[in-house]
Symmetry: C2
Subunit: 307 residues, 2 copies
């Protein structure tokens, strides 16, 4: 990927709980090289963060002294160095002002997360704020949905993060399908297609009765015992139930409106189909591109366009 | 407990997924002796059911030829011998007509479970139907709630089971507190007191926004990260959230009315407080007594009052 026409300007890093993704970036925001691995925060707590970063800088071929900008869990209290949360409401364009420098050779900084420090609706994010910066214009008003292990719904007004909610959708899928009685009713290698009947039926059931998730889960098992459904339908139905419950609550919370969906893969397609069917005006963005764009915007704010 | 004034009439057995509970009963429905163990259905699939029953009959001192009546998972397809489900609507007083005899010395019968064989609301029970028989009069009309791993809500009209719903409340508590990120936010040895503030707050949050369980779960963790709550509050709050979500959905489904609550222990007290606060007219029954009463009623229907 290296090219003489695009000199490296900085290194962008998305450092999550269980993964490291780094890119050597040009000043124009193009990825010149990429290096990824499983050395997430949980790994680095024992191995140390500095050696992992050094290893990836070498793999990226980053010239000595290239500045590094990091987002994600490396800035958590239990990470490399805590980058204290900005508090809602907070302007995305000011994210870089909360960056902290770590004790390492060169200029290495970690962007802060965002906290909703309200006793009635406490919530936190680390990493998603950078994706939000990446997919929104400075005066953006609207909703953003970031599906995943911990799905986020974020309301943005005039470029400020005003309010957000985290749904444990992906994690519930994982623990229920692996550790509950539904393990007998789900083939975990079953793919959940957006156009499959069990997915659509699970979605419809959840949207019609969003308070009934816990009963719907048992019905998934009972339907198989009584011969109405098959085990091969289980994963798609569970996926529909959980995503439908999330969308029903978020719709109740934030209303139906223009929405940017960050996530272009299989999961993104499931959400896109479900959200469009509910009347949302959906624009899809790729999650890694969103991180890189956000890190580039923040890098320009820190080091200037010339770096 | 043995007494010469109350001759043994039959043996009552509640044979669950993971436990065996047997009682030597008098014709008056008094328990003369008790024998319990961990040899539930899962254990007996490999050990065999007949030897386990023989062992407990000996411990109970049951005279040779004493008839045995069993309810619960021993009658499941993967149990000793399948006792096919009765289908809703079904009369509780006719439960004994669905009993099947197993291939064992003496007269040993297993009561059937009840299925709601509707494609839109499939559901099943095995064991609870016997408790329902135990706590209701032949013409009973009203609601019954049986809290537990898989909580049941049952609507009964004129002694017929008309409709029911199963909530995975207890199992969700277990898998979420052990296998999700909330494991960091919950002390599993923490007791959930009915009068504790975190339980009441979780209950109130769930009743106010019953579609938001998945977001409320993440907030439990975020509240601790942001210093609003402590880890020692986690179990009570999770318990409140899950029980509140169950009650909110059941209230929506069945309406507020006279309710028999089967469960007199710690969990029963949590439900009793929550249900009374929501306007239900609650009568509490002990779960084991309910099983014994139901088995005795069915035994009298099978063998007559003289046995």
């Amino acid at each position: 990927m290296t090219s003489v026409s695009t000199p490296p300007a900085f290194v962008a890093v998305d450092w999550g709980t269980s993964s490291f993704r780094g890119w050597l970036m040009s000043a124009k925001g193009e990825a010149i090289a990429e290096s990824r691995g499983g050395e997430g925060m949980l790994h680095c707590v024992t191995s140390g963060f500095a050696p992992v970063l050094r290893h990836h800088l070498t793999r990226l071929g980053a010239p000595d002294g290239t500045p590094v900008l990091i987002c994600g869990m490396a800035g958590a209290r239990q990470g490399w160095r805590e980058a204290p949360y900005l508090k809602t409401p907070t302007r995305l364009e000011a994210l870089h002002e909360g960056a902290i420098r770590v004790d390492a050779p060169g200029d290495v900084r970690i962007l802060p997360g965002i906290a909703q420090a309200r006793a009635d609706r406490p919530d936190v994010m680390r990493g998603e704020e950078t994706q939000l910066l990446g997919v929104t214009e400075p005066d953006f008003t609207g909703l953003v949905c970031i599906p995943g292990t911990h799905s986020k719904w974020i309301r943005i007004e005039g470029g400020h993060v005003v309010e957000f909610s985290t749904y444990m959708t992906g994690e519930l899928f994982s623990v229920i399908s692996q550790h509950s009685i539904l393990a007998h009713a789900i083939e975990t290698d079953g793919s959940s297609q957006a156009d499959s009947a069990p997915f659509r039926e699970g979605l419809a059931a959840a949207l019609a009765a969003p308070s009934g998730l816990s009963a719907s889960l048992f019905r998934l098992r009972a339907a198989q015992l009584l011969g109405f459904e098959q085990r091969s339908d289980g994963a798609a139905r569970l996926s529909g139930l959980l995503i439908g419950t999330e969308i029903a609550d978020a719709r109740h919370q934030y209303g139906v409106q223009a929405l940017r969906l960050i996530g272009a893969g299989q999961l993104g397609r499931l959400y896109e189909a479900a959200l469009k069917a509910q009347g949302f005006d959906v624009t899809v963005a790729d999650a890694e591109e969103a991180s890189r764009f956000g890190l580039t915007k923040a890098a320009i704010n820190i080091w200037g366009t010339q770096f």
